[in-house]
Symmetry: D2
């Protein structure tokens, strides 16, 4: 039985029914919908719009329905194929339970404000969970970083060896990326924490409702200042979709690196077997499926963001049925992020780091060339000039199959005779990778002191947020 | 039991299992997967790679499994939560049924080529269905057009009344848009009709397989000329996603017009009640939900196209796990289009056309102004000059609250004295909307003769294609 | 002359040069790049990495170059076709001006951190401008709302007349949407206000640089805590692109309504002629081009957001050349928003409101049906029951070609005999549109008191922010 | 001077002018616009709508303007900042040149059909060029493949070494991907080759125009069968955008591989120096910028496709100003593809292949494991069983730090005692990589015979298409 139809002489077309029903996906909101109804009828009673005993009967009925639905869903006995939406389902069940008093529940409200407030309550819980899972990831990163403060590796630009860094330095870059994601989710609560309830269809109600009372009861800190805005606003869904997109973006970047590091050619890391899968044809394979899937799923989350923007484009106020399409995509994004974050942190934590291979990789590729240019520019050669001179040295050693440290002082002076007085024995201290890393005590740089202090702060941040 | 794991000492992590399993969505391919396996083992036997009796046992087992799965899915008893994918499920069941001979089925193939060929067979059926449903829509359009060959309405540009047309002329524009969609789907079979089977993991097999034999058995007209391309190609999925996007685009355009025409303000049409829904709060409402949902769902289909492009971006050859993400989005698009096309044609067919309102709308808005400019430019005034003169006349009549036909010959001559000899009694013939439409016998234009002939050809096209 | 090439034996290919050069779009950053260089060399001198006199020569040279570039660009004499990027152009010019000392400017920095800090300074200015323009729009909305506090119009859901509201109530919904946009832009400064300078290529420098000093000099409140994050972070660009997307979304919604209201059929408003354009063929046309272009340009801004996400997907750390593609799209978005907001507020302000038409539209469409249901549910009929009864009344009056207010008390009692005692003379007070609006004193609702108070607060907000 | 405005009393707002003018981007169509006008006036004269001498004057004037514009643009003297669009500019110039006869040119046409036909003519040329450039790329691939028919390398799945292939086999996979792109562009001509000219604003004209005549004159094979469709259809732009997107997708994939192969760790190839660039800070760097930019630019082309779909979503017929936004994005895509394809083929051709490293990479990673399983399954062990047994062998040899070929017959028999009789001396033939590749004579596989024949056909295809 639908919540409308008084003026209808015919049934709606079956095909329309099928495409129109949202119960198959909005049933996940049942608990929030019931909480909202309870808050609403409490207010109706408080405002003398319904009686106290009507309120009690409705509230009790709703609580029973909540328990029943919980059980049905848990036991996979919930049949979602018969009703227009979760609101209709609950009102219909209430009718069966308490009779016509159920018909008073929908006084001074509409499904337009109801679904909006349901979604906001749901998203509040989702964001709390997302944040918690994200902290696990951030924690996994600090843990593995802690074990790799002195693990030297080449820093890359353009996937070419560039300058020496440490594995901890590299990984901690992701810590800050995820921290920004964390804060973006947290920030988005600002717009979620505003209650649309009482906006009704679009223009409020001539009943003397108290929007602030329901807002408070449901834990919102504010109410929408305009009822038309209250039912049409979907910014908070866009914000969730966007924040999820940047999170998946950062995960796609880390996954790409894990995939590359885990190749035979790089061999910088080995994934724990439990986070890989095999091949049905090639017996030797251990594939980094989780990293690949995560990278692939970024497309899905980006697509969902795009979907929601496109759907909203060019719609007039206030409610249009198009808005029903806001849910499946954000639910898919929520489920995706939850599934990824449920397992990604353990994969990261259990990464087997091949420190030797990383260090070995620093020996080739002239990653101390910048240091050499810096050395020269400390001897009153302009950096631009020094950069060119080192370029020439690189050509030389490359031809000879040597590395920069292989050059003797004499050779250096011979190749660049005009600058012979610039080269001194101390040059080899500068060319040494470990020295060079620890000489770099730039704030935020790779030196052990710096990274240790940063990891320490990161851990404190996590602990603070976990409370 | 997975199809791999010989080299594994531990179980894979539960979270990885959850995110990795594709059975919850790829089970819809079971029938195709079985057809592929049957074709494959027939070929293996033909090539003496397995024996005839092994083939027979496998084929019979597979046929039984096919029936069982059909029943389980029909009766909603299919439990998809225990296995990695549909291939594994079927091979496992085969083991239970026929024992270790089942292990020979996977000789000289991989899930990489298997899933690709499954998808292609599935898409062939999907496209056949999509085309059939699309013909229904095209047919609905010709039918309603046929009833409205002389239904005059304003043609709009910028949603402003522009020039007089007929409702049939307007609707038939959509016929041609959907015809292009139809042809694009048809065209896409060219790339679908190429078999990847035998590409195995990526490089074919050292067994003496016959790729052409399986291709023929499965109804493909060609085979991939490169096995690495065979397992990595997803162009055909992108093509489906794109063709679906243009179809949904055209549906979004038509839906927007239906929504606008169906407003109280336009009142050009009234939707049949069965294709609208009501409101839980406003008893009077009959909302054009189907048109709105269709418009909204265009965002979803565009988003799915984007998702698949993003997922594929920057992947190296050959197979990467990211590719598993090609399915859910295209399935969602397929289901969306099917659900929309299952009901949209009847909605169109049953539209109640308010011919009077449409004709009335032609009286205001100066939609015969172009005709007036044409009239003058037939009198050796350049069109650009004529355009300006009519602009002035429009200002005049607008101020006076009149329409152009209200102007007497004298008034015309008085307002534009320099051009007084240009105005003649026959001007009113030109200004008459119906005359003007039928004077416009441009190929593809609104005149009855033209439209009748076009509808006639359209109907023949539909009949030809429906066979 | 490029800033590298010491190790190169050949010229780069012409085609690569063409596609690689960013000067044609990054020249707009010249002023920021020079400010950054000045801050950087001041710090170098302070830290004794270069001498005070070297610093002075460089700073003076840069200031001259700034003036020259300003002039060249203003007079369209700037030839951007000869150099790799703006950094190279400025360093090359500095060489010409002050000789080899110019070569010291690039000590302890890289283009990787330089471009990031340039962009952030630029975006700070852009956001300041965007916010200012957005306030103009918000102000235009409050102004026109103020004139329409008692302008009655139908509120729409599904583009069907739903419940009575006022034009001010409707427009103010947009005020709050744009206020959220405004706050999102403001919020995004949090991540912009962090300086990457000193991150150099990716790992900081072995020179004793002071990152906090340059950050302070340039007006940043923080520095990146990790140098690899400093050069690879593009979140702030994504945030701008997203915030711009929601703004354009809201503008697309308002534009759609303006286009619809401005049709002959609605005639709720008439756009001021200066914000419309004509047709080359139809002399009568006045098209709402600005609203249409704005709606259309939302696609562009959404596309730019998507482009930047896609470009970043799956990139390893730290800098990759792909990142160069972050600029053109965000510049296009910035220019689009600026162009739209430069003219949109005046269009809104000068809208000619057809109050009569709006009021007239309230008479048809049963928009007081909810009120009637409310009336009944005040008489101890449950709302759900009342909703159904009114549905029947609607069928009746629709058939009769009447409106609800046309029904006499007797008729009402006759149609619903079982509820005859529920109907009283006071029913006509409830059915009266104006009464019903002012009865609705829900917080955020359409009543004059409510809206007046909200507009008042909105104006105060604008004044506060404009300072 | 605009082409309209007769009815306007005021100037349009400056801000509207700025955002509305399309000349800054549509001037690139000048040549096509002039061709269209010439064809149009020829037809007008043929149909006695204008006189022969009027026609001659207009045509001559247009030809002069064409030459002038060509020169101005070539010499960068074209000032595009003063006029609404290219049509207005040309008509204004014609007025200056031949006086009021110019005003007859626009008889029986509108800018709505004019811009559509301009774009189609332009796209025909663009597609011809795109196809030519694409053939260069396909040719570069066949050339480098030809040199690498026996260059052994590991085939990868999940970026893990999977099975042995050859570099030619791998590269030729891209040949077929680009061939599909080539054919898609070619196919898209079908919809482009339909003339909208004569559709006028939307409904044709009451002048006796001959649409087929202009279509033929301009080289179109068909005309639109519905004039409203003629002015509103943008499918051909979407098709170009989509075809460009798949091309850029394939280029992004190849670029990713080039970047990875070119790392120090893989060292499979070395890019020719001329297709790399250096660093302003790190003297040793040679970065694969072209490959990175190409990968990055895929985001741009995908974004443009999305932009055009979004812009078109939900628009009513026929022309809306939003449609003006179809141009900049497709122009950007066209320019992007042209710039990439202008240089990418030479980069590919000049790749320096490190055959030794590729071969060496085959020795590790157990890429002959599938062959070993095949070997066993030829000895009546089911493939699934064989797969598991080899999994165990892999564990063994991995622990021992050996490769599969290092195992003696005795060792094999000892590890798998139950299957000892299955192992024979000939096993080493099967495990040999080169043998295994050449044993794989699957159609489309890596064997020299297969690849040689495929390259041969590819070359013939290119020659055939280049004519």
């Amino acid at each position: 039985m639908s919540l409308w139809g008084g003026r209808y002489s015919n049934q709606i077309a079956e095909g329309l029914y099928n495409i129109n029903s949202s119960l198959s996906f909005d049933f996940r909101l049942y608990h929030y919908d019931i909480r909202v109804s309870i808050a609403h009828v409490k207010m109706l009673a408080e405002q003398d719009i319904i009686s106290q005993s009507e309120k009690s009967r409705i509230v009790e009925g709703l609580k029973e329905i909540n328990k029943e639905l919980e059980l049905e869903i848990k036991n996979k006995k919930f049949d979602y194929m018969q009703t227009e939406d979760i609101h209709t389902l609950i009102e219909n069940r209430l009718f069966k339970k308490i009779g016509k008093t159920a018909g008073k529940m929908h006084t001074a409200r509409s499904r337009n404000d109801q679904i909006a407030v349901d979604m906001k309550l749901y998203l509040k819980d989702v964001i709390r969970d997302t944040k918690r899972l994200l902290l696990n990831l951030m924690s996994a990163i600090t843990q593995i970083s802690k074990d790799n403060i002195v693990t030297i590796m080449p820093g890359y630009t353009h996937l070419q060896r560039a300058q020496p860094i440490t594995f901890a330095h590299h990984l901690m870059a992701y810590f800050y990326k995820f921290k920004r994601d964390y804060e973006r989710f947290d920030n988005s609560l600002r717009n979620i924490n505003v209650s649309p309830l009482g906006s009704c269809a679009l223009s409020g109600s001539s009943f003397d409702i108290d929007r602030k009372m329901t807002a408070e009861e449901l834990g919102f800190s504010k109410i929408y200042k305009n009822t038309i805005d209250g039912v049409s606003d979907r910014d908070y869904i866009l914000e969730y979709n966007f924040n999820a997109a940047t999170l998946m973006l950062h995960l796609s970047n880390l996954s790409e690196e894990i995939i590359i590091w885990n190749t035979s050619e790089f061999s910088f890391i080995e994934l724990n077997e439990s986070y890989t899968t095999g091949s049905s044809i090639m017996p030797q394979k251990k594939n980094p499926d989780l990293a690949e899937l995560t990278r692939g799923k970024s497309g899905r989350v980006f697509g969902n963001l795009m979907q929601s923007l496109i759907m909203l484009k060019g719609l007039p106020l206030a409610y249009n049925k198009d808005l029903q399409e806001d849910k499946e995509s954000v639910f898919d994004t929520i489920d995706t992020i939850k599934a990824v974050l449920a397992v990604y942190p353990s994969m990261v934590k259990k990464i087997n780091v091949n420190k030797k291979r990383m260090e070995l990789a620093c020996e080739k590729g002239f990653i101390n060339a910048t240091e050499l240019a810096n050395y020269l520019s400390r001897r009153n050669i302009s950096f631009r000039k020094a950069h060119k001179l080192v370029g020439k040295l690189v050509i030389y050693v490359e031809k000879e199959g040597k590395s920069l440290t292989d050059l003797s002082l004499k050779e250096l002076q011979k190749i660049l005779p005009e600058y012979s007085e610039c080269f001194d024995e101390d040059i080899y201290n500068y060319l040494d990778i470990k020295n060079s890393i620890n000489n770099t005590d730039t704030d935020g740089g790779p030196s052990s002191t710096e990274i240790t202090s940063k990891i320490d702060k990161a851990e404190k941040y996590i602990v603070k947020e976990q409370i």
